[in-house]
């Protein structure tokens, strides 16, 4: 390093390389990403969030929710379960065979061989693909992938899990009333929750001629004084709409799984 110019060139080469790798290449690879189709159903994914939910993302950003919550489910791998759907003509043989086989948590090869064995004696089976990992099924069904965030700006992946992951919270806890109660007084619905209450997203006001239809139905120890009610502000409603819109629960090409079957014995509601 004889002069300033050579230092400049050295730094330029080093940083330029990583700029091409981690800025330019992802922009080229992901910048033109389009909607994809859901496996099995063939619907388009993801769809744009509703207006309220889009505004709710801004409430999420403004309050720094990402300091405590991630929106990315991790997955270690997948296992295969072999599920018998019909016993066929020799139910006794099939059930004897099944009792000797391991049918859950298999590798692809083991699942295929079990599949073959049962099919040869006349049983009908399905192979289910099940993602594994410590976030599954606690916080989601499958790992988060780039497509899940196609319409988000800012993308709030987060880096710390002081609270739970929220990538699939809309599917896990899909009730708007529950979300609002939880925002106002987390301890009223989750015992020992360490989340701070967000009272400033709500209004405590005197009950007028009739109670507001939006008023929260709080348990006694969290309720406002008699004659008062707690009403969510627009921001709280938008935030709750955003939380409900967070769903990563459809199988995709890059994150496949076998969706839970709706049992046909239950009458449709």
């Amino acid at each position: 390093m004889k002069n300033g110019f050579s230092v400049f060139i050295a730094a330029f080469i080093a940083l330029g390389a990583s700029w091409c790798g981690f800025v330019l290449a992802p922009v080229l690879q992901l910048g033109t990403a389009k909607q994809t189709t859901i496996l099995v159903s063939g619907d388009t994914y993801p769809v744009q969030r509703t207006g309220d939910a889009t505004l709710g993302l801004q409430v999420y950003r403004a309050n720094g929710c990402t300091a405590c919550h991630t929106e990315q489910i991790q997955q270690d791998g997948v296992v295969f379960d072999v599920v018998l759907t019909a016993a066929g003509k020799n139910p006794v043989v099939v059930s004897n065979l099944i009792s000797t086989l391991k049918l859950t948590g298999l590798t692809k090869e083991a699942a295929d061989s079990a599949n073959d064995k049962i099919t040869t004696v006349g049983g009908k089976v399905e192979t289910h693909l099940i993602p594994t990992g410590r976030d599954i099924p606690r916080w989601g069904i499958r790992r988060s992938v780039a497509t899940d965030f196609l319409y988000d700006s800012p993308v709030q992946l987060g880096s710390q899990r002081i609270g739970p992951d929220l990538a699939d919270v809309g599917a896990r806890l899909g009730n708007a009333d529950w979300q609002l109660l939880h925002l106002y007084a987390p301890q009223s619905v989750v015992k020992n929750s360490g989340m701070p209450p967000f009272h400033f997203l709500f209004e405590t006001k005197k009950i007028g001629d009739a109670p507001s239809p939006d008023a929260l139905n709080l348990p006694k120890e969290f309720a406002p004084p008699a004659g008062y009610e707690v009403v969510p502000t627009t921001e709280a409603k938008q935030l709750s709409a955003y939380l409900l819109s967070l769903r990563a629960d459809v199988p995709l090409y890059e994150a496949p799984f076998t969706p839970a079957q709706v049992s046909t014995n239950v009458p449709a509601k």
């Binding site: 050295a10 730094a11 990583s18 981690f22 992802p26 720094g64 405590c68 410590r134 780039a146 965030f149």
Partner: protein
């Protein structure tokens, strides 16, 4: 006093006003940042505390604290130290001394606007890039102005041969504008890039700022002061050159977390790069040991101690960074307190301490008089050391515990309480630092006013005599 000393004094004096402008604001932001950090960590002691006060909830106070310490303290204080080192190494007075004075004020105004914006909910939502557009533009402009003065001073150097610190500091001058403009233009502009690309660029920026930029500047400063204070030449500049290249080449590719929802080649590449970072790390350790062990300086909590502690903290924080790039270990510690522990060790344990040590060494020379509270230097060293050990060790162990117990908050709460104690020690230390800087500035201004008053009075008196 010989000619040499007089010229040395002239060089130091030429830096006086810009350095005071940079250090004064920096000391204030350090106190503000650590106070906000403590406020944020109170959430873990009493979650209900700020239920009705949106400004100080964890999600507002924590990013504000991080940015106040990094953008408010670390960068401007480091720029001040850099200007002085450039002037000293060039053996020439600071070129364009007024430019950094203006720049320092623009920078601190930008930080002020940015912090207010974060607190009132106007943050951009990207870690380390929370400042809104207006404030980022101010920071960018201020940095360029200071870089102009630094490069102009560098151009005037009498000794044409470069010293290792030159490489590191010059590279840092190019690094920051590049990464800061890229990240802001692609993430915060009116047409941001789409989807997870935003996150990838955010991670690239954060790694290049917190790991590479801080390392370049911190090591550049350490490689200047360690030989100077230890009265023993740097062992050796060939090793330093090797560190310079490998640190830049490998360091700049770290930062994409394992398991991120992005194309798999990105985290894989990052994992390899962070593994290779062990190469410059070993060489830095060799340089450090060879340079420091032969030194016969007894530091007694003085600047030499600061810089020694800081360099060791850098070695440890980089080891933590490398370990969290290992696929197996990262599965345990990803998303836990281990990450913040590493960042705090890098920012406070390494960078802040090296810079504080450098400031304590150079400020008396620049001002031409001794520190008002010289004993505080030693006390602050112990407070910082204790604070950083409490903060980082408790967060790191708490993080591993949290990871092993499936992210349960209860398992990490006792560790978080210890970390708050660590922050309190750091805050006390930063108050001592601020006291030294502010009293020094006040004394200098008082002397300035006195001399101005004397100057105004003196011609009047002579006029009276004449008449």
């Amino acid at each position: 006093m010989n000619v040499n000393e007089i010229s040395q004094q002239k060089i130091d004096t030429s830096c006086r006003v810009p350095l005071l402008a940079l250090f004064g604001g920096a000391a204030l932001w350090l106190v503000v940042g650590l106070t906000l950090s403590i406020i944020a960590s109170l959430t873990f002691h009493a979650p209900q505390m700020f239920a009705d006060c949106p400004l100080l909830t964890y999600g507002h106070a924590q990013p504000a604290a991080n940015d106040a310490i990094l953008y408010g303290f670390c960068i401007p204080a480091a720029l001040g130290v850099m200007l002085w080192i450039f002037a000293r190494l060039s053996q020439t007075e600071l070129v364009l001394p007024l430019v950094p004075v203006v720049a320092a004020n623009i920078w601190h105004l930008g930080v002020f606007i940015g912090l207010i914006a974060i607190l009132i909910g106007d943050s951009t939502g990207f870690m380390w890039l929370e400042f809104p557009r207006g404030s980022s533009v101010l920071l960018f402009a201020a940095f360029l102005l200071i870089a102009v003065s630094a490069v102009a001073t560098f151009g005037q150097r009498k000794e044409r041969e470069l010293y290792p610190s030159h490489w590191f500091l010059l590279a840092a001058l190019l690094w920051f504008p590049w990464i800061y403009s890229t990240a802001n233009l692609l993430i915060e502009s009116g047409h941001p890039v789409r989807g997870v690309t935003q996150a990838v660029i955010g991670w690239w920026f954060a790694d290049n700022l917190i790991f590479v930029w801080l390392a370049l500047v911190g090591l550049g400063v350490a490689f200047y002061f360690l030989p100077k204070l230890g009265e023993r030449p740097l062992q050796s500049s060939h090793f330093a050159l090797f560190v310079f290249w490998t640190l830049m080449i490998f360091g700049t590719w770290c930062g994409i977390p394992q398991g991120a929802p992005v194309p798999a080649w990105l985290p894989a590449l990052s994992s390899v790069a962070s593994g290779l970072t062990i190469v410059p790390l070993i060489v830095i350790a060799i340089i450090f040991v060879k340079t420091v062990c032969g030194a016969n300086t007894n530091c007694k909590g003085g600047p030499f101690c600061y810089i020694k502690f800081g360099t060791v903290a850098f070695l440890l924080s980089t080891l933590m960074l490398i370990s969290s790039g290992c696929p197996h270990f990262s599965k345990i510690v990803e998303f836990t307190w281990f990450g913040p522990a590493q960042t705090q060790l890098q920012i406070l344990g390494f960078f802040a301490i090296v810079i504080c040590g450098a400031i304590y060494e150079l400020l008396p020379r620049v001002m031409g008089f001794e520190l008002p509270f010289p004993k505080f230097v030693r006390v602050q060293h112990w407070l910082f050391m204790l604070g950083i050990i409490l903060l980082v060790v408790s967060l790191a162990i708490g993080g591993i515990e949290q990871g092993l117990k499936n992210y349960s908050l209860e398992s990490s709460l006792p560790f978080l309480r210890v970390s708050t104690t660590g922050l309190l020690f750091l805050l006390l230390g930063s108050l001592l630092f601020a006291a030294n800087i502010f009293v020094m500035t006040f004394k200098w201004k008082l002397a300035l006013i006195k001399s101005v008053v004397a100057y105004i009075k003196s011609p009047l008196e002579t006029a009276e005599v004449k008449s």
